[in-house]
């Protein structure tokens, strides 16, 4: 059996405070080669601070950071040479064109990708000589992703790569990021989109108030949730709460508007019994929905905050 490959990204006990306020508190994680690892958290959770420490934009108070085997704190320039990055808060000059931007950034590396090929890869050929201020949000993000690849890095760090994009542009970015993984690159990204984290990432680290409170695959995180599936339904006539509690598999019940929400450990048996109970009392079901546990439930359990309440303004995730 061959030994496991060394991690492409290794972060150990990373700590960073802004004055008395701890922004990142003893965070540790590893990202394996070819893996997409997502840091998921609300605004202010510490995602951007972690990525900025990795990229040398901020000096951590303490902690270990290695990128592709290089100690990023001791050799920040060498680390930057081998890593591609896309920042959340960055822009280019209004009148610079994608071709000029790629040529400029490529010129700083001893070996660089061909700008023309990157323009093709990121579907920007039609905008080669268009000024930056004429590009759409999605085109700009694709250009930044292309810029992150000018040095042909094996490791990519992407900070909120789809923030503020419309659903179509977001899907396009997801496809491009998946392509990067297919090409064998390692991707560390931050996001506040649950759906994006679930869909894109091999593993997710949930950040809350500067601490990494869970790290696992999306499926494992959901499987670890204490939450049970929930049935929400409405009926033509009111139902007795005590009788609902005795349905097979049901572990909790609560009124929700003019209907009910039942927590169940056995979805099939609970639905079957519910239908029989309604029929026997001459009642009729108006609608029924099944809610399986999701990342949102995991997040609620781990942080005590619901995603809906805390999601950033402008987020269009439902």
């Amino acid at each position: 059996m061959s030994p496991p490959l060394p991690a492409s990204i290794r972060v150990g006990d990373l700590t960073k405070s802004y004055g008395p306020v701890p922004a990142v508190d003893g965070v540790s994680f590893e990202v394996a080669p070819g893996e997409i690892f997502g840091l998921l958290g609300l605004n202010g959770a510490g995602k951007t601070t972690i990525l900025e420490c990795l990229l040398g934009l901020r000096e951590p108070d303490k902690g270990l950071i290695t990128l592709n085997g290089i100690d990023a704190r001791a050799q920040p320039r060498e680390a930057r040479r081998r890593v591609g990055a896309q920042l959340q808060f960055a822009a280019l000059q209004d009148k610079i064109t994608p071709r000029q931007a790629l040529e400029l950034f490529a010129s700083f590396y001893p070996e660089a990708a061909q700008p023309v090929r990157l323009l093709e890869q990121f579907n920007l050929s039609a905008k080669t000589d268009a000024p930056f201020d004429s590009l759409s949000g999605g085109q700009r993000q694709r250009l930044f992703l292309a810029l992150a690849l000018v040095n042909d890095p094996q490791v990519l760090v992407l900070d909120e790569p789809t923030a503020g994009l419309d659903p179509g542009s977001r899907r396009e970015l997801h496809r491009l990021i998946t392509d990067l993984k297919s090409a064998g690159r390692t991707v560390l990204l931050s996001t506040h989109y649950l759906e994006e984290a679930h869909q894109l990432c091999d593993r997710i680290g949930i950040l809350h108030e500067g601490r990494l409170v869970a790290t696992a695959t999306p499926a494992a995180l959901i499987a670890s949730a204490r939450a049970v599936p929930r049935l929400t339904f409405r009926s033509t006539r009111p139902l007795d709460a005590d009788r609902l509690a005795t349905l097979p598999g049901v572990v909790s019940h609560e009124a929700q508007g003019d209907g009910w929400s039942l927590g169940t450990k056995d979805v099939n048996r609970s639905i079957s019994a519910l239908v029989q109970r309604l029929e026997s009392s001459g009642n009729e079901m108006l609608d029924l929905q099944i809610h399986r546990p999701s990342l949102e439930d995991v997040f609620l359990e781990l942080t005590g905050r619901t995603w809906q309440d805390a999601r950033p303004e402008g987020s269009d995730e439902t």
Partner: protein, 444 residues
Amino acid sequence: MKRNPTLNGLLRHFSLTLQLNFRSPQALIYGYLVPVFFLLAFGSVFRADTPPLLNQMGQLLTISLLGGACFGLPTALVAERERGVWRRYRLLPVPTGSLVLGTLLARLVIVGTAVALQIFLARVIYGTPLPLHPAQTVAAFLCVALPFLGLGLLVAALADDVPAVQALGQCLFLPMIMIGGVGVPLVILPLWAQRVAGFMPGRYAVDVLQRCFTDPQGLPGAGFSLFALVVIGAAAGVAGSMLFRWDAGRRMNRSALGWVAVALLAWLAVGLTAAATGRLLTVALPVAAYESITDEQADQITYEDLPGDNEIVSRLAPPFLPAGEAPFVDEFSAKLAAWPPGRDPSPGQSVRHLLSVAAIADISEDIHEGEIARIVFDKLQTRHKHTELRRILAWVILHPGEGTVITQAPELGLRRHPPESVVRERSALYARKYLGRLLGKIHD
């Protein structure tokens, strides 16, 4: 061959910064239109000088350099930093210095071309002479531009946003314009302002640049001014580099005050050194140079080697017969009487200009060269007292390179445009012929 990414990136960044500058209408207005506006404003005030604007070129170019450094550079840097451009640059695997250097070099080219444009347009529009020392002018430009760019770098580091650049830039620009000897000449400033100007780099910048236009000695005489600019520029440049911010989100901490103090202390040190070495003495309107010529100096001038009056060089017609018998003489004499350069308020300059007319006619081998030289001599004698004319002619002979000369006078019918050096040499020759006659050492 393996390429050097730092050098390669620097050159690419330099070139791109220039290209983007030329794509921005706002940058073109501030970079080129405003300097031209200043040229026209100065020209409207000083166009009557002889030659126009020559004595204001140091001030004019300093204003352009100050504008480019105190506003142009930091505005571009801070605007890019606010957008997040420099934040993205920060991820590149190159030293900070190479990226900043690319920006500074581009700004140097922008300011340099604006200054060259001013010199060219001053020449074309007003006939302002080109610098006496072209190579030294380039050196002087660098000696002034680099310290000012250091100040610009400091402004960029201190300003959180573009409006703050305007505020900080004005804090540097306005005092130097108003009481620093840049906008308002030192000689007409009150005494206290003249002393304050000694603490500001603008005064030294004007001195260094002006010498390249009018001082025969050139930059070698500007040692202290060069020293002052280097000290102030180096302190500002170091402080600006130490406080350089990649990210608009990063605010200054208290240690920044220390570096600001270093930059300001350099101004103080220069001013105190100037005071201690007697360089903050009151500047008054200069005494006419010819007044320092003594009788002994005039007496030592010799006349034996002068060409004869009928030889090819420096012909001089004999005294004229009574008026009315030589129409050319009357006509030219009337034109010369009304010729503005010949009526310069400075007696020394007036004489030099009239001597230039005789010189141009002689060099051009004008058909009336001898008569013109005689008319000039007659005009000099009627306009100036004997003792004053003796001193001025001796000054021209002993210091042929001083003052200004005229090299073309088509309004007098003299179409040729001989080199200035030849006009000066021939003017000195005629001055000897005239002085010899005034002193009775040459007989007409």
